[in-house]
Subunit: 144 residues, 2 copies
DNA sequence: CAAGATTGACTGTTCAATCTTA
DNA sequence: TAAGATTGAACAGTCAATCTTG
């Protein structure tokens, strides 16, 4: 049985810890400004970058479960930040698109988010170190 | 305003992704064997290593919110994996300790957990790379 | 009043089942 | 039958209030 090396276990443990610590800094910053959670930002950004998309595509890019995304979109839609539009091509699905309000919200969130990233990562690693970390972390997200 | 560098943003983004990917591998492995979630393992391990402790101490080590831990301990206790015992010294609190069943469960979880860590981290990074990643990630968890 | 811990009510997540169309 | 998407009910997480003791 392939038991992980100490180095792998240590990297795993610290990945969990670093994630918890960094996310809580960012979420706290957003909450302090009365802004929506991180997850909303991700969806809004993906919709700005990728244009109108089907939930299935968003799901794959954001690594979310389908039922999870369904309710997340409900909330975003209720807040007026995204709109759904029926598809003629495949009547099972529909397109999700960001609204003007959604873009405005994403823009309002970014400065707060950016400062929090700086506090959580930028202040703790040099650019060279952050680049190394990004490379190694990128390898962990690759599907086998 | 200190805007984060591209390197910092990239490290942040990939931290989130790597965490999501790695955790889902591990949680899926545990679930497939009918075992409890990762979080339970963390509590059980901490109680084995650190001996009987007050919830406050567990909370600090595991980076959990107090109300969160309170309900997590309820579940562990209901499953017979931990026990609570009143403290005479400070009657507000109590000690939490792992039971024999709890130790047995932790031991059953470990091989599954270990294989999953290997798949999520060990198979993707060399030991040298994992050591570098662990060092950098450790710096992110340090309180300012 | 402050610290340790819990609880009620609310919000969000998960699982399995369901519905519709391909 | 399978894929895209949603939903009811159960479960877990969050916030603010509460209780008890220091």
């Amino acid at each position: 049985m392939p038991t992980p090396s100490d180095a792998a276990v240590s990297a795993w443990t610290r990945l969990i810890r670093a994630h918890t610590a960094a996310v809580s800094v960012v979420e706290a910053a957003l909450k302090a400004e009365g802004l929506p959670p991180l997850e909303w930002y991700d969806v809004l950004l993906e919709l700005e970058r990728g244009g109108p998309q089907r939930p299935r595509d968003l799901q794959a890019r954001l690594l979310l479960a389908q039922y999870n995304l369904s309710r997340l979109l409900d909330r975003l839609s209720e807040a007026g930040l995204v709109a759904r539009e029926a598809l003629q091509a495949d009547k099972r699905g529909h397109l999700v698109m960001i609204s003007a309000e959604g873009s405005a919200m994403r823009a309002r969130m970014w400065p707060v988010y950016a400062r929090a990233i700086q506090a959580a990562v930028g202040d703790k690693l040099s650019d060279a170190e952050a680049t190394v970390a990004a490379d190694l972390l990128g390898r962990l997200a690759v599907r086998p």
